[in-house]
């Protein structure tokens, strides 16, 4: 049991708009951290710039609210050089996937043990409402008065494309679901991406409407749990089965389908084909997948860097500056 309470991670009075999804997420993060139990002083929370990136200011941990798009890179240096810290990286969809896209993919590829949180409101909040790389095609905003003409990134897809080993999704307003995935994200050694569906009440209200309420999630979402069959619906009446290289929704009890026919979620499967299909499901034909979708162990960069150092220390005969000098060709002037 952890010796901490949510209160131990809390600081100050959040300045987000009332109703902003960031408030809900923050509360869940405090709670999750308390349950995880890493001391506040051993925790670093690093964000970029954006409404969501204000989050570190409301943490009683160590942290930095840095510059736009670089949180993952800054967190990388932090974790590699001080691996005993629990490092959380907070970004919005703009911060993480527009200007920060390169660091996002490389952090995933290298598999640095960062807990990467993507607060996805599909909009640039702080700069007053321009479309973001997760805004849907045709989206009208201040910078796209006639609608955008580009498709959005789907965070899971990009994460997988970059060889990501952990992807989870939760809804900011769903405290229970959020706390649960945050704990698993922390437990995963290596880069974890948690996409938080977050509502911006000002500039993109309702973007995640179908799953933002309890009722909505009961109807339109599926909570995935490793080892459990993929069953969903208000009365657990639906399930997912394989069809060719794809997925199909079936009604249990119809056409002779029983629970046994339903796919069982394997978050630990190294091959991400099915996990990707799950992550990409969209309404109205499919439920939106919540929970931990992929969670596969793999060597982490920070650990490997540090263990390589230990290895070489054991191998090489020189371990300080004076000894280093002696490895060179030296002559003497008398």
């Amino acid at each position: 049991m952890s010796e901490y309470t949510a209160q131990d991670y809390k600081k100050g009075q959040p300045r987000w708009c009332p109703g902003c999804g960031d408030h809900f997420f923050l509360a869940s993060l405090h709670k999750a951290m308390a349950e995880i139990g890493v001391a506040p002083e051993d925790t670093a929370v690093i964000s970029g710039i954006g409404c969501s990136s204000r989050l570190p200011h409301y943490m009683a941990t160590y942290g930095m609210n840095t510059i736009h798009g670089r949180a993952a890179a800054i967190a990388t240096g932090c974790k590699v050089s001080n691996p005993k810290l629990a490092v959380w990286q907070i970004s919005g969809d703009g911060d993480g996937l527009a200007i920060g896209g390169n660091h996002f993919i490389h952090a995933n590829r290298r598999n640095i043990d960062l807990n990467m949180i993507l607060l996805n409101n599909r909009i640039y909040g702080l700069t007053k409402g321009q479309y973001s790389p997760t805004s849907p095609r045709g989206f009208v905003s201040k910078s796209s008065p006639y609608g955008t003409v580009e498709d959005p990134f789907r965070p899971a897809e990009l994460c997988f494309g970059a060889r990501g080993h952990f992807f989870a999704r939760c809804v900011a307003s769903d405290a229970k679901g959020t706390v649960e995935v945050l704990k698993q994200a922390y437990a995963h050694k290596g880069a974890s991406v948690t996409e938080v569906l977050q509502n911006c009440v000002i500039f993109n209200d309702g973007t995640h409407e179908s799953v933002y309420t309890n009722e909505g999630r009961r109807k339109n979402a599926i909570y995935l749990e490793h080892g459990k069959p993929m069953i969903f619906g208000e009365n657990n009446e639906f399930g997912l089965v394989q069809e060719g290289f794809g997925l199909k929704v079936v009604r249990i009890g119809e056409n002779g389908i029983t629970e046994k026919d339903i796919l069982v979620h394997d978050a630990h499967c190294e091959d991400n084909t099915l996990q990707l299909k799950l992550a990409m499901m969209e309404g109205p034909d499919f439920p939106i997948a919540l929970g931990v979708i992929r969670d596969v162990p793999a060597p982490t960069y920070d650990e490997a860097v540090n263990s390589q150092i230990e290895e070489i220390k054991a191998k090489k005969p020189y371990h300080n500056f004076a000894e280093l000098l002696e490895t060179n060709d030296i002559w003497e002037v008398k």
């Binding site: 002083e41 051993d42 670093a44 570190p56 990388t76 240096g77 660091h103 070489i312 500056f321």
Partner: protein, 616 residues
Amino acid sequence: MAEKLEVKELDQVAVRFSGDSGDGMQLAGNIFSTISATVGNSISTFPDYPADIRAPQGSLTGVSGFQVHIGAETVYTPGDQCDVLVAMNAAALKTQYKYAKPNGAIIIDTDSFKEKDLEKAQFKTSDPLKEMGIDPDRVIACPISQMVKDCLKDTGMDTKAILKCRNMFALGLVCYLFDRDLDIAFNFLKEKFSKKPGVAEANIKVIQAGYDYGANTHSSVANVYRIESKTKVPGRYMDITGNKATAYGLIAAAEKAGLRLYLGSYPITPATDILHELSKHKSLGVTTVQCEDEIAGCASAIGASFAGALACTSTSGPGICLKSEAMNLAVILELPLVVIDVQRGGPATGLPTKSEQTDLLQVLYGRNGESPMPVIAATSPTDCFDAAYQASKIALEHMTPVVLMTDAYIANGSAAFKLPELDKLDAINPPYVPEEMKGTWTPYKRDEKTGSRYWAVPGRKGFAHILGGLEKDNATGAISTNPENHDLMCRLRAQKIEKIQVPDVEVLGDKDDAELLIVGFGGTYGHLHAAMDEMRAQGKKVALAHFKFINPLPKNTAEVMKKYKKVIVAEQNLGQFAGYLRMKVDGFVPYQFNQVKGQPFVVKELVEAFNNVYNK
């Protein structure tokens, strides 16, 4: 810095071509001499044929050598040892290595280092370099045979004829290294083979390929620019390039401060060797992360700094552009960080392998907002050690990013380096927040004397805090848009840098009665010193004030600048340091000497220009 340095320039250099007697080493050497003579160099050559005229191919006794010594002034000998050794096969390396200077560059054809070749040359292991104790960093290893084959594969020549051209590849590469004009070689060959245009053409093609190879791979020879102290102090010495000295300076500083050394970097000529060097020293706990780009290099270093490391990032000018936003973040976070800029020719990609001093105003001012940052410019390869150490010390003790400027010339150049003793180096004491402050401490509380804020490294209980890129309240550390506070913070950050103690700039030469003061900064020290020496030898009253500490400037700067009748600022740009001094010293209107050639100064040209001013 009062040491007297001698600059051995580009054209006082010995090259030794060696290979099997059938490899055409004499021809390669001859052409190289001819080219050099044609451009007006003095030359002295020494053909070194094998005693055994019909030794078996690849054998130790069959090695033939040809040494060329070239110099701008008369050279009287072919040189005792060579700066560059070309060894076309294993036997040549074995027998000729003794002629190479301790740090000389060695070019080998890896295709002639196969098992069979090693056997003939009586190597015992499959790693001839290791066996001979040769540092692989000195070696330009290149599959010459294969490349010559590829180059000539469409000519219809047979393999034997093709392989006869290997010598020309080596020649082309050497021509690249010493910036020789290929046209002269081409004309020479056209004449020599006027009867066999096919042969001439093939040879020309291969020379070009060797030259291009050098250009493609940014090849360079560390010891072309060799700088040696004339007043040698007793002690133990090693050879060191500027980049290696920089790496060593950082290592020493980290050890002295008791901190982990972290380098976040992205490869870029001519800075990459710092990354290479530090990557080797994991047994000292050095952590290097080759990042996805320069931004991440700097950003990750900021993360490492926050986490308690001595954090550094190394690059050249284009990389500084990319890092500038993150450097600026470090300014407002007030975290220690060493940013190394090994200057090269600009603008943009410019001349990546060449040297100039054109990033000065960029590192001083290339960031939005009022963003003061200390700048130190190393003056020689060995001074890179001291400059890197000082940069680290300032960064750590004053909680600030620091720019360390070097340039391609001193970074690739090498010199004899007196081994430093860590004990005797200045102590490094970062302002860790004292335990007593627990409860009252806020992140921007400052040490009264230095104006520096205190450092609380994650892991310390009771000091958890949030830093950030938004302006902060001086007292509470919370985000603030208060106008007075912002004005205050801008001034406090500026004052903190101004308060840094740096040594006075020393005046060398005719300190008291110079008619002309030469002023320079950074990597031109050796040349300016040599120019001063020469003028004084001509009986003129000349002094030199050479700057290593650029921001803050030494306290005596204005005084020195105004003391002499005439002042000339000489720099490898269009006048950046002169402009900076004009900003800082009231009424300062110096003469200027500016060159942006990508090449080191030429002492003769300096003397001429300075004499012009002197005699005005």
